[in-house]
Amino acid sequence: MNFSRFTYNLGYFFIVAIMSLGCNKEINERNLSFAPLSPSNLDTTGGNWLPILLSNNEEFALETPEPITSQNYKLELQEVRSIQAKNELSELNNFNYWSAGSILRWNEILRELVAKYNLPPYENQDGTYPIPNPNNPLAYPLFPFANPPYAARAYAYVSAAQYDALVIAYHYKQKFKRLRPYQIDPNIKLKGPEINDFSYPSEQAVIAGASVAMLSQLFPGEQDFLQSKLLDCINSRLFGGYNVRTEIEAGLKLGKQVAQKFINRARQDRAGKAVGTPSDWQLFVTITENKGETPWKSLESPARPPMLPLFGRTIGFLIDTTEVVNGRPTPPPSTSSEQFQKELNEVLEYSQNATRENMRVVHFWGDGVGTYTPPGHWNAIACEDFVQLNFSEIRWARNLALLNMAMFDAAICCWDAKYFYFNPRPSQMNPKIKTLTGVPNFPAYVSGHSTFSGAAATVLSHINGLKSTQYNAMAEEASRSRLIGAIHYRSDIEVGMKMGKSVGNKAVSRAKSDGAE
């Protein structure tokens, strides 16, 4: 063998290897290839669907638009034509992105913000922890800490506000019957699928107005980001030939007005006080000790105050506080009982026999720090299915509102149980238990993942019955991931799942009578 030639051939091989590994770094991002939204049913009666907070579909007035024969309207058509005439690639890309659906994209924006803000504050030098301040959101620690309860509430408010805003918008669309610019002016090109309903007010602007108003409250440090997304969203409607500017302005105003109603509600839903005080935190310990049980302890070092301990008192959308208390699950096995020991040993078994497959499952459903949280995961699952189902914007909004109200209320019930029983995590009771993911900083009973997933699978099964088996299997896997991840006992996941399904059924009852089915 000629070693010199051999060497050069190998050298050639290595260079090709470097090029192919190092230079070809395209990855497939699932949400960037969604097809444009082309509703199979325009849901023109959406204006009569049951709103969540609004008392009626004319609660906020909308000015009558100028006739299409007016000079002003002609100028507006001219604006659309000139935007289209520029024919810029960036505008086209922006249009393609937003054409997949506005409810979808604003939901993704919310998920991204949750992931960005889902970071627990770093400790002070003295071992205490700073608490994020909504009045100074950009100072460390950034406000908010978008942990699972905070996120569940955010998803619910944003989705519910979007839905109510669309109910009112769909009502006015039918009332004013304004045709779309591409239907009036043959020189305006339609850039996406034909959507032959009416264009005043622009439903995308209504969604954007409501979303930006809500998100500005929830993520006050993100004004610039939100304004730039708002602009992109509006531009896509003009560029696409779907709306003229006054239709957009009317929509933005309407969306903002509806959102204000939700903002007012949010200020009084008690979530703002969910952090509690050191004396509240101590009270949980005392009460639990008085019952003869071992109280929960933070496993973080330095010990971190429990996550949003008073969140269970928050006023939900589907269940009131009395129902939360009355529906509270029976106590978990006593920490001194044989049953408890049995369940603790089961967790130890999983900790000591962590298979690669178990790791995969635990990490797939982990949704911990720096992620969009379990409610966000279920929003992603829902949205990826909804894009296949060609819903109208209002049906998108309604379905996500049902899903997110259910998960918000599930969070409330779950947090109520966690702090009523205040029971310890497995690793607290047996330090030999090593975990496959981080131990969340709140009591074990009942499992949040299980409650969220039970609620989500129940609502999604109602919306998309064909996938019911899959949704329930996913929920079971998400729930089980906490047991095999060695951070929850069997009781936590089983009772949590039951609780979630029961809250999910509240949303299903609403779905059956909201006029959309």
Binding site: I18, E29, Y122
Partner: protein
């Protein structure tokens, strides 16, 4: 809530990088024709502080990150100018505090082809230029998105190193630079946040530069002691955010200094002992690790 979440070829974040320091991809030495050499090395590394971006911090939920590593290597001399090197490692990573489960297993298989391009005696300075091409691939399905406990990056890599070795009497200087291309990796999640939210289970890892300087006393190829300096640079990547988990596509940079050496144990029988230690002195999104290794190599001529 430090829950979870790489190698310069092996692993940067946990700092367990102990390539065999005898006729490896980072020296200018060659095995003779039809010589074969095999060896194993045991090493440990640990850190208590790590850089979160530029911020050097401790984490009481980790305590110390400790790593133990057993490496196996074989080197074959096709000719005295062309060597083939194979290596792999078994790694165990664990924390001294907190609840996170340890990780262990076989990491990657590495293959290097080393070829002397040019050699000349210039006024008593024995100077050579060497090219080293390498590829690596994971050999077990280890968890990659569980830093700092993951035992490797999970990427396939291809690398090209150019090396210059200068020897005057018994003193030598070796300078080299390597470019390491890394494949995208697959993680167990299907979305993740870098500086934006990405909906994919594929992660683009930045490619890497590794620059190396070695200076020492080398009376023979089997007897030397050297000072080492190593500069690792991630081409792109992002910083760990405050109190977030590390992630495989972080920008991981580090500068390490160390000492290493080799000594023939039994004259002319082919047995040598090797050993060394390194300290990370500067970094970004990596642990400030101290590590040492020691091992035995055996050389045989057909």
């Amino acid at each position: 809530m430090f829950n979870l979440k790489s190698p310069i070829l092996l692993i940067l974040f946990c700092g367990c990088f102990f390539p065999l320091k005898s006729q490896t991809e980072i020296d200018g030495l060659f095995m003779g024709k039809r010589n074969i050499c095999g060896g194993f090395v045991y090493g440990q590394s640990q850190w208590q502080k790590y850089w979160e971006g530029d911020y050097l911090r401790t984490n009481e939920n980790i305590g110390q990150l400790k790593s133990r590593q057993m490496s196996f290597m074989a080197n074959y001399g096709f000719t005295s100018k062309t060597n083939l090197i194979l290596s792999t490692s078994y790694i165990q990573n664990f924390t001294t505090k907190g609840t996170l489960l340890e990780q262990k297993g076989f990491q990657d298989a590495n293959l290097f082809l080393k070829h002397e391009l040019w050699a000349k005696n210039i006024n008593g300075f024995l100077t050579s230029l060497v090219a080293v091409a390498g590829v690596s691939t994971p050999i077990s399905n280890y968890v990659v998105d569980y830093l700092p406990l993951s035992i490797g990056s999970g990427a396939r890599t291809a690398s090209m190193r150019f090396l210059m070795d200068i020897q005057k009497r018994d003193y030598f200087l070796t300078l080299s630079s390597s470019y390491i291309a890394r494949s995208t990796i697959t993680i167990d999640r299907n979305s993740y946040y870098t500086d934006r939210l990405i909906y994919s289970n594929q992660v683009v890892l930045p490619n890497l530069w590794n620059h190396n300087i070695r200076l020492g006393y080398r009376p023979s190829p089997d007897n030397y002691v050297e000072f080492t300096g190593e500069f690792n640079n991630s081409i792109g990547g992002f910083n760990i955010r405050k109190n977030d988990m590390p992630f495989p596509s972080n920008e991981m940079d580090m500068v390490r200094i160390g000492l290493s050496g080799k000594k023939e144990i039994i004259k002319n029988k082919g047995f040598s002992a090797i050993g060394g230690l390194t300290q990370t002195v500067y970094g970004k999104n990596v642990g400030k690790s101290f590590s040492w290794y020691s091992g035995l190599v055996y050389q045989y001529e057909f």
